[in-house]
């Protein structure tokens, strides 16, 4: 399904009460905006024309099956990967033309937590803060705050090599927050976390969002998307196939299928990605449509 600019325009008018002067007005409120984003790897069309608009202040969920193009999209939006076709703006800056301005405005935690095993957690955070232009002293203070925030104070002075997977993920999240970014990109931030750590990450996402950071996150956990995200998009085979609030996506499916009960986000996901779930005597089967 293509996006519906008309509807979004309407909902914004009612939500915020200001009159909609047109595209320019909208642009100012867009934290992430992509038009016809395409990425070709040799022999693979990973992303095939993605349009996205994430409003400032939103928590935006980006869902899709394995290999759908989520990470590829995130890597293009975070200046790490060149864009084959189309254009994108993040925090008001063109990703291809002004990557440095984008980098100053974003925090990034990628799918594979990118950490240096030979540094300690504290050193890593201090270095990250220095790279964003803080003095050594400010950086040390910021590292202390963040270590407390992600509950890694006890491990702060141990080498990252010895951290568990969950500790690494939390440290990676902390390192994405050093400069209080305008837009935070999280690629599967809770994959592999125990339930308590997952809640820590959720709390942290809500907290930074409350302080005004726009969050763009990918996830495989539909419950997570339901709990955290104001709006979400589902990508399959490199194209956006659904976009909207979790409630609206569920309502839309219920209407279209004439369902008696409210469907879950799982149902929406399976429907959107071309699979259905048949319940046969309590068994759950996934069937390719």
């Amino acid at each position: 399904m293509s996006s519906q600019p008309g509807r979004r325009l309407d909902s914004r008018t009612t939500d915020e009460g200001d009159d909609v002067a047109g595209v320019v007005e909208l642009d100012r409120h867009a934290a992430v905006e992509a038009q016809g984003l395409v990425k070709h790897y040799p022999g693979v069309e990973a992303v095939r024309g993605v349009d996205l608009r994430v409003q400032a202040g939103e928590v935006f969920g980006f869902l899709g099956p394995n290999g759908a193009g989520k990470s590829t999209t995130v890597r293009m939006l975070t200046t790490l990967l060149s864009i084959t076709e189309g254009s994108a703006r993040v925090a008001g800056h063109d990703v291809a033309r002004d990557p440095d301005a984008v980098r100053r405005a974003i925090g990034v935690a990628l799918q594979e937590a990118g950490l240096d095993p030979r540094q300690t957690g504290r050193e890593l955070l201090e270095l990250q803060a220095r790279l964003f232009g803080m003095s050594a002293q400010t950086a040390a203070g910021r590292a202390r705050e963040l270590l407390a925030l992600v509950e890694l104070e006890d491990a702060a002075d141990r080498r990252i090599k010895g951290y568990s997977g969950g500790m690494k993920r939390r440290l990676d999240l902390a390192s994405a927050l050093v400069h209080e970014p305008e837009v935070l990109f999280l690629d599967e931030p809770t994959t592999g976390l125990d339930p308590a750590s997952r809640l820590t990450v959720w709390d942290e996402v809500r907290r930074v969002n409350d302080r005004g950071t726009t969050v763009f996150l990918t996830t495989q956990y539909l419950e997570e998307a339901d709990q955290l995200c104001d709006r979400l998009a589902i990508i399959a085979g490199g194209r956006i196939v659904r976009e909207g609030t979790p409630a609206r996506l569920k309502a839309e499916l219920r209407e279209r299928r004439g369902l008696a009960a409210e469907p879950t986000l799982d149902d929406v996901f399976l429907d959107a990605t071309g699979r259905t779930r048949d319940r046969v005597a309590g068994d759950v089967q996934e069937v390719s449509a």
Binding site: T78, T79, L80, L81, S82, D100, R103, R104, I106, V108, L110, E112, A113, G114, L115, D116, P117, R118, Q119, E123, L127, Q128, R130, L131, F132, G133, R159, S175
Partner: protein, 251 residues
């Protein structure tokens, strides 16, 4: 520049915390020094061998060992590890000039190479080698060797950025390696056989080696020292330009 320095300090920390990667750079060159001297010293007695300028054969061999120590390129393997582990992307997503990411590692290499070279030369002094060109010569000796190390690691780094593979980077190191031996390694250039002499003359490493050697065996011979520095500076400029270009196009 300050970002490069911050990243350089981090690369140095990485080196310090991996002594097992650093120690071979010290011991393998020492091993070759001892073995080469042990095998050839009798052929070239100090008193009757003109090209030794009155010193032992060890003084003649020291430059080979210094260059060997400066041509391990371990730092490039750390870079591959960093790319594979994803930390490299973290750095690329931060607002530092792309060039600072490669320069940081080269700065660290310079510091490391100065330390290792100094240790090796001091060990040489302890075993009776003297630096005929005096304290200035000592500084030039260490500086030239360390700059060579930076150039060598810089080229390895380009391979690392291009291939992103430890195996490929390692074998690239092996391709460069013969350059160290197509030099007047055991005797001066004019005593080499004709084909070897041609190869050595074409090989830029020869001029670095001859400069180092003259600093140890003779007084400040600018005519021999200058070509060594010229080679290192020219290759260094090419290396820097390529590094910056490759990281700017890294995708």
């Amino acid at each position: 520049m300050s970002a490069a320095w911050v990243l350089g300090k981090r690369a140095l920390r990485e080196g310090r915390r991996t002594p097992d990667a650093l120690l071979p750079t010290l011991f393998i060159p020492l091993f070759f020094l001892v073995v080469n001297v042990g095998q050839a010293a009798k052929i070239f007695p100090a008193a009757s061998t003109e090209f030794l300028h009155g010193q032992g054969y060890g003084a003649f061999q020291l430059p080979s060992s210094l260059l060997l120590a400066a041509s391990f390129g371990t730092a490039a393997l750390f870079l591959v590890e960093e790319i594979e582990g994803g930390y490299f992307d973290k750095l690329r997503a931060s607002p530092v000039p792309r060039s600072a990411i490669v320069l940081g590692r080269l700065i660290a290499e310079l510091v490391k190479a100065v330390a290792i070279t100094t240790v090796l030369v001091l060990l040489g002094l302890a075993f009776g080698i003297s630096i005929a060109s005096g304290p200035v010569g000592f500084v030039l000796l260490v500086a030239l060797t360390a700059l060579w190390a930076v150039v060598f690691v810089g080229f390895m780094q380009i391979i690392a950025l291009k291939t992103r593979s430890a195996a490929a980077t390692n074998s690239a190191g092996l391709v460069f390696f013969p350059l160290l031996f197509l030099t007047p390694n055991f005797v001066p250039r004019d005593l080499l056989t004709r084909p070897m002499e041609i190869a050595a003359t074409l090989n830029p490493v020869t001029y670095v080696m001859e400069a180092l050697r003259s600093l140890i065996l003779e007084d400040l011979e600018w005519g021999t020292i200058a070509p060594g520095f010229a080679v290192v500076l020219a290759l260094g400029a090419v290396m820097l330009a390529l590094n910056v270009r490759v990281i700017q196009r890294y995708d």
